[in-house]
């Protein structure tokens, strides 16, 4: 059984994992120290082991120390987080492809602009639950919803964004390896929420183009 994240297949996914590990180290050390102190005090200062408790109301230096040090730590974490956030949520890098995902109860409608790169033309391809992506290319995804809030979650991409009725969300992604993965709906959307499952296929650009052509042909008849 794996106790860790699923494999990461996106560029910024690696940065997210790294940030997680940093926080894990910091909180892990704090956890060990504090729990250790708690246990040590309960044992060391149990009644009988010490004669009388110390009559002390506080210590200003101590207060300053344990205010400033945590403040410094969270300041560092805030900056580290903002850096990664700006990369992911800021203006996207130049993209090679655009697609649109329209969520509904309980399926993902995926629209490809087709070889001409324009939506609303004859070569558009629409699938249900089948997301194909060319590896290595920056893909811009527009997110919409027909009815209620859903959430477009690609675990291996470390990507999640709610699809909100009335709002067109914009995210970008860049896959780093080929493979088959899943789309998970991550916002309660009704009785079919648990099964709003889609399929992500990351393939070479040539295989992607071939698939797009095949899908277009099948759509016609």
């Amino acid at each position: 059984m794996t106790w860790w994240f699923p494999e990461v297949v996106s560029t910024y996914g690696v940065q997210i994992d790294r940030l997680f590990v940093v926080i894990l180290w910091i909180t892990g050390v704090i956890f060990v120290l504090v729990e250790g102190a708690l246990l040590a005090f309960l044992i060391r200062y149990r009644r009988g082991a010490s004669t009388r408790a110390m009559y002390i109301h506080g210590n200003v230096t101590a207060e300053i120390i344990w205010t400033v040090i945590p403040a410094l730590i969270v300041t560092y974490l805030a900056f580290a987080s903002q850096r990664v956030w700006a990369h992911i949520q800021g203006p996207p890098p130049p993209h090679q492809m655009e697609l649109e995902v329209v969520a509904e109860q309980f399926a993902w409608n995926i629209h490809y602009a087709g070889p001409d790169g324009q939506f609303g033309t004859a070569d558009d391809v629409e699938t249900i639950n089948q997301l194909h992506l060319p590896v290595g290319q920056v893909v811009l995804v527009r997110l919409k919803s027909k009815d209620v809030i859903h959430s477009f979650f690609l675990p291996q991409f470390r990507l999640k964004r709610d699809t909100v009725p009335g709002i067109t969300g914009r995210i970008w992604l860049q896959a780093t390896k080929t493979g088959q993965y899943e789309i998970v709906c991550a916002e309660l959307c009704g009785l079919g929420h648990y099964r709003m499952r889609g399929f992500v296929t990351i393939e070479t650009p040539e295989a992607f183009a071939a698939w797009l052509k095949q899908a277009k042909a099948e759509q016609a008849g």
Binding site: L38, A53, H193
Partner: protein, 577 residues
Amino acid sequence: MSDTPHESADHTMGFVRQYIFSTDHKTIGLQFLFTSLFMILFGGLLAMLMRWQLGWPGHPLAFMGKLAPNGMPGGVMVPEYYNMLFTIHGSVMIFFGIIPILVGAFGNYLIPLKIGAPDMAFPRLNMASFWLNPPAIMIMLAGFFMQGGAAAAGWTSYAPLSAILGPGQTCWILSVLLVGTSSIMGAINYITTIINLRAPGMTFFRLPLSIWALFITAIMALLATPVLASALIMLLLDRTLGTSFFLPAGLVVDGVALAHSGGQVLLWQHLFWFYSHPAVYIMILPAMGIVSDILPTFARKPVFGYHSMVYALATIAVLGFLVWAHHMFVSGMNPTLSTSFMVATMVIAVPTGVKFFNWLATLWRGSIRLTTPMLHACIFLSTFLVGGLTGIFAAAMPVDIYIHDTYFIVGHLHYVLFGGSLFGAFAGITFWFPKMFGRMMSDRLGQLHAVLTFVFFNAVMFPMFILGIGGMPRRIYDWSQYAHLSHFGPLNRMISVSAFCLLAAQGLFVVNFIWSLFKGRNAPENPWESTTLEWATPSPPPHGNFKQTPTVYHGPYEYSVPGAKADWLPQHQQSSP
């Protein structure tokens, strides 16, 4: 002016006036206590059903086929029923469990006693505040008998889903409106009482920390709850009168275009979380206050950094109003806004840390008696720490992209709400039971209950972080449908089995509680040799609390004063010569 209750009572009251529609804060506090303990048990049972489905997806549970023929036909749970279960579990635990037990029960019981007052400022408002709860409970649960079943949009009730679901959702809205009204009434009472009815000598900075915590909690409740009430009314209007507060144009549900237009879906989330984030501080501050009273008592040592503790409580409360949208990092909200909420959320870790270090320093160089209340208080420290630290992962926005709406968050929230609030409540119950009922609980049974609950609680909740890291979303009826989760069978089953054991262990508490009510050793006025004012009156206190209004001479935690014969100096007693 508020009527003084002991005037009107020459006290040959009938059973109904004395025990059902009482205006005595102690009786009302106990009414809150019994009702919320019962509801916590009920919420726990719902969780067991959820854990059955999560441990063995799709497997029939025969007897439930008869109890819930629509929700579990032939014993097999259907997804819509699962959605109702977690919705009602969360709503019951929060609105009818933790908030009423910490704020309603302890707030009511303790405030007049610990400030030296005969009762609350508004005793009838107090009674009304309690009596809104039973109808609220019945209305929410009545949803199970409505067409389409009970509310099923989660305790967060996000629009548009909550706007289009069946009548059970309306029941939920009305119920929460009632319980919110109850909260606001209580808040008005607590604030007025603490400001106006303190005994002579009880300055603000001589108040026990539990009272500070309840005072600040009441202010939060007063400011935040009306926002929730507004949101609920707007949602109710969207559902019944065709308004469009939360419904934009162009919605197509099941192939039918809805006529609404002009609304903003995210508005619900902003209004809801503007209340619900302070609400989580409403749920933890009283527990922190209780722990701050218990640690000095059983370490025989003043609380370390009393002033810092007060400022930390106030800082947490203020910051608590500035962080709500950290629940909305992936909601489609403007990403620039997210940064300010992230910063405020990170900053809240600082006063929380200050409290932790002061608690540890209270234990340091103490003379510790590990009674049942002390055990629960120390368990609170241990488990709430995990809850607080895991919150840091969620505060870091990029990490939150991944862990939002996964079991990581479910683990985090249970560590703070069960590990923190509920253990705090157990600490408070075992500590003040002698005062409330005039009898002692069994310490042996209490310690066994505490240890078993601690062990099983961790067995249930800690693996959830692993599930969350693995990508398991929450509110998911059947996780086994996903390839990347298919290996989580053993872990989910282990959590479920631990959960059944956790519930079973609560039997020890129930037995201890009920048995002690009737057969516990008689409790003296001050069994724990504690310093605050509630221990300076009989157990249980008479109507009017104090024969004579006490005068307060010093702070609330004067333990082990050098030179004094006893290792404790009550607040109402002048210093030993």
